[in-house]
């Protein structure tokens, strides 16, 4: 494409038309791949070419404007280049303005970070366009801080908006920050509030990083907001976006403004963690060479072989342990520590003695607080609780499930109860897949239950793998190897674990409202029930459990918290895996059909990616069930 430069009054509108038509037909890549570098070079120093370029894009008809602008923004190697190419198009043309300020930022979220940087950098480079930048920032902040947006938008979109906000902030100048300080502060507070409320750790982290960055920008002196969270690649990337400053200013006056795009030139240096000012002085290298008579040789040491580490003896009997743990004497902390450490093994070695005092011990452990600082106290307590529960399942399970719904426990304690129930159930059941659909050489499914909010993810991964295995296997045909089976000890007690938990979920107490504020616990409850269901495979109560679980899921299926929905979908997976197919189809057909349509809905419309994936898996499982029944000769 060659133009006749200088002097001639040529009409470019024809070229604009061609450009527009080509772009709208999806050939942006080809034509802009040639055009953009060409124009970049030409407009570098030549004002006339710049004006030609501006005229070119301005003349593109409105109906093709979007495609052209989009193409330019995506293809321009930097914000300054974009500025040279498009000029003040966004100010002059309404369609272009809409595309740049609204569509690309708020309605789409698939663009890369570089594109965002180009776009927002472009807006910041010219005085006329800066007003648009500010407006964009306001709108982004509004979206970011609205709680309904948080609930209904996907994680990727939220990440995208956060990135855009941070890049905008990095372009803001002092006076602009001054005028908008109040707004920034209000939006930040609202946004942080609804994000911290969320049960998903990723959203919380996002909220924390953005809030910190905003606070950093608006409070240049004085205390800055600081959250505690784990750094990972995502947070580091976000923080990097904030700090970089555009290393260029007004475009036309810089003739040698070359490849300094990305504005990465001013790389922030992470400040060195300040060393302790008085580091321990280095040990004197020259030992005192003792040439004089060493009078120490006179002193003959005594026998010191008895000098060993002092060990505090833990009590040997369970009842003694109870005494120590409930004792109020504050001096015997050594004994208390030793007791806590020894308790689990004592319980396991003395099942008969434990059974006599099991409920009392469970009560003590549930309320046990850390008296001194022991390493791994939480884990020790949990293991002791699991030991007690597995030794005497029925009364202790009754106690724990009743306490779950009682007044005056903290959320942490309630979630501990759930964790303990799950761990004990796992220990009791050690399930193996029996029957024809076993994978040859299948490993014993071991559900790694990790502490904290990762517990659901860990086991879900394993179950998902199982589902995948099962799904694939059926297509390949049946396997003939059968592994040895073991009686499921969970059989007799599964009901005691499961039904009390599911009974009262809709009854609010003064301090505990599962359906209201405490949706985090509700989510954990759903995941717990899913695991219990999964572990109850081949037990007698499994069908009744399945039915109750279906009702539970059905009542809560439209819950707004995505963590809860994930739990409910896991419940369905467990149900489909555990309850024998014949029973499913005999007793639960109508409910399953309804569930199927609900799952289809979730798969298409749910904002959360994990929910959609789980729904899809459930639908596949149901398909396989049907197929399986068709294969088996009646």
């Amino acid at each position: 494409v060659c133009f006749v430069p200088g002097g001639l009054d040529c009409s470019i509108s024809f070229v604009s038309h061609v450009l527009g038509k080509v772009c709208i037909h999806g050939r942006q890549k080809e034509i802009l791949g040639v055009l953009v570098p060409c124009l970049t070079d030409l407009t570098k120093s030549d004002c006339i070419w710049q004006r030609i370029c501006w005229r070119l894009v301005e003349c593109v008809p409105d109906r093709w404007m979007e495609a052209v602008v989009l193409g330019f923004v995506q293809r321009a190697p930097g914000a300054d280049v974009l500025s040279r190419l498009l000029g003040n198009l966004v100010v002059k043309n309404k369609k272009a303005q809409f595309v740049v300020t609204q569509k690309m930022l708020l309605l789409q979220y698939g663009h890369t970070t570089e594109v965002l940087q180009n776009l927002l950098g472009y807006l910041s480079l010219d005085g006329l366009r800066r007003t648009l930048l500010l407006r964009v920032l306001q709108e982004l902040l509004e979206t970011w801080s609205s709680s309904s947006a948080v609930k209904h938008s996907t994680a990727e979109q939220q990440l995208y908006i956060s990135k855009a906000i941070l890049i905008c902030l990095s372009h803001l100048k002092e006076p602009e920050i001054e005028t908008h300080r109040q707004e920034l502060l209000t939006s930040m507070m609202e946004g942080v509030k609804c994000r911290l409320d969320s049960s998903l750790p990723q959203q919380r982290r996002l909220g924390m990083v953005v809030a910190e960055s905003i606070s950093l920008k608006i409070n240049t002196e004085g205390p800055v907001l600081k959250f505690e969270y784990e750094e990972d690649d995502e947070t580091r990337e976000l923080k990097f976006l904030l700090v970089q400053t555009p290393s260029f200013c007004n475009v036309p006056s810089l003739p040698d403004d070359d490849r300094s795009e990305k504005a990465g030139a001013a790389l922030p240096l992470v400040p060195e963690s300040n060393e302790k000012s008085h580091a321990a002085a280095p040990v004197m290298s020259n030992e005192e060479s003792d040439t004089e008579f060493d009078s120490d040789d006179d002193l003959i040491p005594y026998d010191m072989s008895e000098d060993k580490e002092l060990k505090i003896k833990a009590p040997v009997y369970i009842r003694d342990c109870i005494e120590v743990l409930t004792g109020s004497r504050t001096e015997d902390v050594d004994k208390w520590e030793a007791t806590v450490k020894a308790l689990e093994s004592l319980v396991r070695k003395n099942p008969a003695a434990t059974r006599e005092v099991s409920v009392e011990l469970a009560k003590i452990l549930l309320h046990l607080e850390e008296k001194t600082c022991i390493e791994g106290f939480v884990e020790l307590r949990q293991r002791a609780q699991v030991a007690v529960l597995t030794t005497d399942p029925i009364p202790v399970a009754k106690y724990l499930t009743s306490q779950f719904y009682s007044l005056n426990y903290s959320l942490r304690q309630r979630m501990d109860i759930l964790d303990v129930l799950v761990l004990a159930a796992q220990e009791l059941s050690c399930p193996k897949f029996l029957g024809k659909t076993k994978h040859s050489g299948a490993q014993k499914p071991c559900i790694q239950l990790l502490q904290g909010s990762d517990s659901s993810k860990g086991w879900r991964r394993v179950v998902d793998e199982r589902i995948k295995n099962k799904t694939r296997r059926l297509d390949k045909g049946q396997c003939h190897v059968e592994l040895a089976s073991r009686p499921n000890e969970f059989n007799s007690v599964a009901g005691y674990f499961f039904f009390p938990l599911i009974q009262h979920f809709d009854r609010p107490l003064t301090t505990f409202d599962l359906l209201g504020e405490d949706h985090l616990v509700l989510g954990r409850l759903a995941h717990t029930l899913a695991i219990l269901m999964y572990l109850a495979v081949n037990t007698v109560a499994v069908t009744a459990m399945g039915k109750a679980l279906l009702e539970f899921v059905w009542a809560l299926r439209f819950h707004t918290d995505s963590y809860v929905r994930q739990g409910l979908l896991s419940c369905i997976s467990s149900l489909l895996l555990s309850v024998p197919t014949e029973r499913i189809l005999a007793d639960m057909t109508e409910e399953l059909l309804e569930t199927q349509s609900w799952l289809g809905d979730v798969m298409e419309k749910d904002p959360d990616g994990d929910c959609r994936r789980l729904a899809l898996q459930n639908l596949l499982l149901m398909e396989n069930l049907k197929k399986k029944l068709e294969v088996v000769p009646s």
Binding site: E288, D296, L299, P301, Y302
Partner: protein, 328 residues
């Protein structure tokens, strides 16, 4: 074949409470009775007769609050005691009297033992932890005038002073203070100028006790961890770590170097007293008698070396007295 460790020469019972501090006064000429002063948690200072092994007098001057420091001031007739009632009392014990002649209200609510140094006839300097968290005050006794207040610089974050030792290289030279703090560091202070000369981080945990050998310019400190730290003072008045020694069990309450600078004793939380050679910190003995943590150890000041004793006071309310390495 090493001999088993010796048994205590005798054990003093009868304090009725945990023993926190011991101090010998045996240097007097005959026919003076060798005495051992002990301060206990019940607030009493017991004066033990080391010939009869019985309590001669019991001094009650701290309102039944624990006494954690006892020192004699030039002989057994004048005594200084410090208690948890935030007071330091000066006693006159001559001719059978048991009266408190003077007292200093320190307003210190911690456990930092004060340190005495005789600077001239009838004049002492006393370093004590003061009311303010990180400060050490130096007073002149018996006039009770304040000589200076040693304040660490702002932001130093040393914490409370845990143990103090005033010393001077020779009579007439500048008095210097070594202070161990809660953050594990030992600071050398120049008393006359009131400023810090050197600081050394010896431990990760608070310094529980320290002692210093001014002849060799070497000191040792113990903490609640398993490490004993030996440090030295060079010509530029800088503290440097010389050596560390790892113990079997964590926690040291008290360290003291024998006056002849040949051995030192440590009182441990593991109920054991350990003896080391001072020159190279060679472990010499582990004395395992007590059944609760040992709070204090003290060497006697007998003029006859063969009569020298080591006493240890423990939470189990007993004072064990040992004769160990007395022949050298």
């Amino acid at each position: 074949m090493a001999l088993p460790p010796p048994d205590p020469q005798f054990v003093l019972r009868g304090t009725g409470a945990a023993v926190h501090i011991l101090h010998f006064s045996c240097g007097g000429p005959e026919p003076d009775i060798p005495l051992l002063f002990s301060g206990s948690e019940s607030g009493f200072i017991h004066v033990w007769n080391l010939r009869t092994h019985r309590v001669d007098t019991a001094l009650d001057g701290h309102g039944r609050k624990s006494v954690y420091c006892v020192e004699t001031m030039g002989g057994k007739d004048r005594l200084l005691s410090q208690g948890r009632d935030q007071r330091i009392c000066l006693w006159d014990l001559a001719e059978g009297r048991t009266s408190v002649t003077d007292s200093v209200f320190t307003e210190h609510v911690g456990f930092c033992r004060c340190s005495l140094l005789k600077v001239a006839q009838g004049r002492w300097l006393m370093a004590m932890a003061a009311r303010s968290l990180e400060e050490v005050q130096i007073l002149e006794l018996p006039s009770k005038t304040s000589v200076c207040t040693l304040k660490p610089e702002v932001g130093a974050k040393l914490g409370m002073p845990m143990c103090l030792k005033l010393w001077q290289l020779s009579c007439g030279s500048q008095p210097v203070l070594l202070a161990g703090y809660e953050d594990g560091s030992v600071v050398l202070w120049n008393v006359s100028m009131g400023k810090a000369l050197s600081q050394l981080i010896c431990h990760q945990e608070p310094v529980m006790s320290l002692d210093f050998d001014s002849e060799k310019a070497k000191g040792i400190s113990g903490s609640s961890e398993k490490v004993l730290s030996i440090w030295s003072l060079n010509e530029q008045q800088n503290l440097q770590v010389y050596k560390t020694h790892e113990l079997v069990n964590a926690g040291i309450s008290d360290i003291t170097i024998r006056p002849d600078k040949k051995i030192l004793a440590t009182a441990g939380w593991d109920h054991r007293i350990r003896i080391f050679g001072w020159k190279k910190l060679k472990p010499l003995a582990v004395l395992d008698y007590h059944t609760a943590t040992v709070h204090c150890v003290s060497f006697s000041d007998h003029s006859n070396p063969r009569e020298r004793l080591l006493a240890a006071g423990s939470k189990d309310q007993r004072i064990s007295v040992w004769s160990i390495y007395a022949q050298t």
